[in-house]
Amino acid sequence: MGKIMNQSIFNKKNLLLLGFIVLLIAPLFLTDFRLNLLGKYLAFAILVIGLDLLWGYTGVLSLGHGIFFGIGAYAMGMYLKLEAAGTTKLPDFMAWSGVQELPFIWVPFQNPILAIILGIFIPVMIALLLGLLTFRNRINGVYFTILSQALVVVVVTLFVGQQGLTGGTNGLTSFNTIFGFLLASTTTQTVIYLITAAVLAMVYFASKVLINGRLGQVLIGIRDGENRLRFLGYDPAIFKTFIYALSAGIAGLAGMLFVLQVGIISPTMMGIIPSIEMVLWVALGGRGTLIGPVLGAILVNWAKTTFSESYPDIWLYFLGLMFVIVVVFLPDGLMGLFKKFQKRWSGLHDKQPNSTRVEKNYS
């Protein structure tokens, strides 16, 4: 038993390392355009790890991670916008909407360090607040999901409505430099790409440590039997709120890396459809595994780019169909499929010797 475990972990580790090395040397063999796309997918992959901690491990489905992602992206965008404004100290769209002075909300974003901190801090605070107010009252399951979606509507309408403060439907774009480096240059983009890959690796390993520790066991306990855990003396609300806030912070971080590579953030990129697409990445890859959602995010976005280049109409059909197929036929996603085949190949399709697994319960 121990030997098999060691061997499989060894293999997995090697594969992961190989994947990371491929990501690191990708700039050598990809064109600038493709590298930029891959960087975008990696930013999504970072977000998806957080979402998976929340949904795959804790069993709480949030349809509102788009806004955490968006707020992070806006925080970075605001800093970039202010740097692009240069001596006038006022972003261009504000002048168009007749704003004379820099609004006080924008003032902290003149400082890049502060902007980065706020890009994580604001999503965390929103999630903490909403999490405490809902989980403590045992508003769970679909009720929480609906509320998280309503949060998206509220925040998006707010961002669209405050034209002079957020750039309205156009969002923030036409950035120029970051820390004085030209954002459009190949070198800057490559560095940002490498940073994204490194952040992905760090978030991945931090989550791995978290999941393998005691906390991870508690989270899985909450997913599979919240009341049992409550009777054992744990307070599920605290854990859920913590994970919700953590995943919101990760989403904010991902948003910042996203805007650096895509160069635009607008309310449509944080709305209902993007938020639910993120959930699909997790579901398709395999919730409850860390590597699955990462692969899911990269795969689906790659498919989306390919599809919408040639058949933009079919994409929504495809998206909808994938939801149905994954939920009905592949509840454990591609990783579940992969494990099934792996078992068949190695002839281990019989029950495992230590079969004390509890049925996963995503209710």
């Binding site: 508003i139 679909v142 409505g161 009341n227």
Partner: protein, 301 residues
């Protein structure tokens, strides 16, 4: 003064639209604990059915009978939406009864496909539906004009409410539905065919979405995403109202309708939405499971 009355009337009108949409949701969610995210698209189907019937009337029916199209399209929209509901239940939802979050995602996928289907058939731009002549104009009170179309929607939603109430509380079928809602296993033991109750109730809930879509054509042009515009508010109605009884949905709908209109009147459309959301969260601190919740000794509801 007239401004106040108009605001109140608008709140009442918004509330009645939400009620019409949320009635179907409350029925399906209350019975099966299934969140049907495609409900908005069933509304869209109802709206397009009205559009098609209107176009057919314009083409083939003498002009003097044109106004009848609307009266005809209400039952037809109900039937077609109910048909789609049955299809959805049989082909997808019944496999997901024990997994509410999964059914939410799967029906969301169906909704996306239906939206794209409508886009392929009718085109992405909104289409206008000509209101029947008898709903043009409005009731004049002093210097106020209350549009007939909104009064019609208000009466329609009250009519639907009464119909649902009578069905649930005064017929044998309705009693079976309530029995299954309260205790599925016990109802099954007593010989209620729960599968048939599920199917029938889901069809009725979907049918009311069709009627709601029909009513929405009176308010403006319709498009493939017309459902998503209202659906989240309608879900909030269910969350606030709870699923124990119809009265919850009524109070939730008119409550959200009123506060939405009042907040928007005093602030702006965007700030109003934020305030309503905060109010809902605050309300849930007081009643976490909604205004009317069914009591039960089961641990996991």
């Amino acid at each position: 003064m007239s401004g106040t009355i108009l605001t109140l009337f608008n709140g009442l009108s918004l509330g009645s639209i939400l009620l019409l949409i949320a009635l179907g949701l409350a029925v399906t969610f209350g019975l099966m604990k299934v969140i049907n995210m495609a409900h908005g698209e069933l509304i869209m189907i109802g709206a397009y059915v009205t559009y098609v019937i209107q176009s057919l009337f314009l083409k083939y029916v003498p002009e003097s009978f044109f106004d009848l199209y609307f009266l005809l399209s209400i039952p037809i929209a109900f039937l077609i939406a109910a048909g789609f509901g049955i299809l959805l239940e049989v082909s997808l939802i019944r496999f997901l009864y024990k997994r509410p979050l999964d059914s939410l995602l799967a029906t969301y996928g169906v909704g996306l496909m239906l939206q794209q289907l409508a886009r392929s058939i009718f085109g992405a731009p909104n289409v206008g539906v000509q209101s029947p002549g008898f709903l043009n104009g409005g009731l004049t009170i002093g210097n106020l004009v209350l549009p007939y179309s909104r009064i019609f929607i208000l009466s329609l939603s009250i009519l639907c409410l009464v119909a649902i109430f009578l069905y649930f509380y005064r017929t044998a079928n309705g009693r079976r539905v309530r029995a299954v809602m309260q205790n599925r296993q016990m109802a099954e033991c007593l010989g209620v065919q729960t599968r048939r109750v599920d199917l029938g109730t889901f069809a009725i809930g979907s049918g009311f979405a069709g009627i709601a879509g029909c009513a929405l054509t009176l308010l403006g042009p319709i498009g493939p995403t017309i459902g998503t515009y209202y659906i989240i508010d309608a879900f909030m109605v269910v969350v606030v109202g709870g699923v124990g009884a119809l009265i919850g949905a009524v109070v939730g709908a008119f409550g959200i309708g009123f506060f939405n209109t009042i907040f928007e009147f005093f602030t702006s459309a965007t700030i109003g939405k934020v305030l309503v959301f905060m109010l809902i969260i605050a309300f849930l601190q007081w009643r976490p499971s909604g205004l009317v919740s069914s009591r039960s000794r089961a641990l996991d509801e």
